[in-house]
Amino acid sequence: MSDDYEPQSTVAKWIDKRLPIITLFSGHLMQFPTPKNLNYWWTFGGILTFCLITQIITGLVLAMHYIADANLAFASVEHIMRDVNYGWLLRYIHANGASMFFIAVYLHMARSLFYGSYKEPRELIWIIGVFIFLLMIATAFMGYVLPWGQMSFWGATVITNLFSAIPFFGEAITNWLWGDYSVSGALLTRFFTLHYLMPFLIFGLVILHIWALHVPGNNNPEGIDVVKGQDTVPFHPHYVVKDVLALVVFMIVFAGFVFFSPNILGHSDNYIQANPLQTPEHIVPEWYFLPFYAILRAIPDKLGGVIAMVSAIAILAFIPWLDSSKVRSCKYRPLYRQFYWLLIADFILLGYLGSQSATGIYLILGRLATLYYFLHFILVMPLIGFIEKPKPLPKSISEPVLSKEEQLAKSGQTA
């Protein structure tokens, strides 16, 4: 690790003696001992870092042309699309980049859930992750308001009105948020400021996330502790190459959206300028918020709906203590694994229901799916640890490989 590394050149030595930044980076990004059995689900961390940097760079250049003013914002986005050199490309990368970011984060979280990466000693890595997810939601929501189209405006109205459900102070808090008595230009400028700031806060949290990760090191598909040296390989080149390969595939999909169907994930109503006197027929949030939107609408009470939606995210932070099983990886949890897939299916169903109008069968399904979502965490997770008989764990991640080699060696001797 870091202590194994010695800078070679005179300049590097000179710098590293005064600021050991070269040792730091080489320790954490090159030599870092990484379990040798990581699969492709572990490449999403790198992909997410790429997404964040992409959003920051494209966002910075968009901000050079964008005007955060209720009368000018919509026109300035059209100006970016039509007049600014490559403006269409930059905006499409940024808008679709947000979607790609959420695809990656959902897969990354599903990976962590499947392999029990939130369990002791990695609870804080998971919790910091939940906070990153929360900030991503806030950032993407505020970003979507900036073009000041119909969906921007009415999305902002519906979501900021969630705060009016707070007893007693609701109205004062919403007026404070708006800086007005309704959604207006005052909200637009503060959202732009916060939308600009938050990605950098996310960046800070990502550093904490990786710092916390590098204390115990990576979990792995077997979910058992690794023996350094025997079970690990240096991060570079092994995982750098693997991450880059996955990233290239990810970028192909990303480019597919940007160049071939840049508006498929958006809503056409957002190409109509905001009109405070007319609500669109059918308000839907961006696809990545749909499961939570379905939960909001499943509860027939205003405050209750808001509480359910907030809890749906907050409950994630408690998973390390809700899961009573000692076994990390679902590979060795035959019973819980079934419920894991049920949860994934439930979440996808919620997403679908969030896009439909909440009436009739959709409403009933929405309520059932919401019920299961919460039951999974507060009932299934704590109980299954006591009922389930896990499959026997290998002694080390090298064991299966070694014993095969030993057998081969033996059979070679006898033959």
Binding site: V158, W178, G179, Y181, R190, T279, R297
Partner: protein, 177 residues
């Protein structure tokens, strides 16, 4: 230093040091609060927004059964000249049928004129007029039905449509706000 003696004094009486800690602490808290407040209060509606807070409306062009929508404080306000049937319907409702009980009389100054903020009390969409199961307004966002007095009858909205403060300046003009 004699620790035993220190502990004794600390337990038995308030020292000069305790006093200094407490006063310094309190002043720091008050000072920090006073400094933070401007950073929070700057977000509240500002003077220019508040200055626009009243609007006059000419009622003469509105025929019975018609309504107009005007913008007040950035929000739509519905001014509806109700028909006899609508008024009768609104007045006939049993209070027990209402999620947010209010008589029609308390919601209007003159029964013919219904003036209310056209913002759904659920999450702020604008309800559509002459729609819904109660002949009044229907909010397309999550399906709230309001009656001919703007009272919530069905759906997720918790409250009746808000009545702004307004006065009749003369028979044909009202001032909202």
């Amino acid at each position: 230093m004699d620790t035993k003696k220190d502990i004794d004094t600390a337990e038995t009486k308030v020292t000069r040091r305790d006093f200094l800690y407490l006063t310094t602490g309190s002043f720091t808290v008050v000072g920090a609060g006073a400094l933070v407040w401007p950073f929070i209060a700057q977000m509240n509606p500002d003077a220019s927004v508040k200055a626009l807070a009243s609007t006059e409306v000419d009622l003469s062009p509105i025929m019975p059964g018609q309504s107009i929508t005007i913008l007040w404080r950035g929000k739509p306000v519905f001014v509806r000249r109700r028909t006899e049937e609508e008024i009768a319907e609104a007045q006939a409702v049993e209070q027990t049928d209402l999620p947010d009980p209010e008589t029609d009389e308390t919601r209007v100054q003159k029964p013919e004129w219904l003036v209310m903020v056209g913002v759904c009390t659920h999450l702020g969409c604008i309800p559509l007029g002459n729609k819904g199961e109660y002949n009044g307004w229907f909010c397309p966002c999550h399906g709230s039905h309001y009656d001919t007095s703007g009272r919530i009858r069905k759906g997720p909205a918790p409250k009746n449509l808000e009545i702004p403060s307004y006065v009749f300046l003369d028979d044909n003009t009202i001032k909202i706000g």
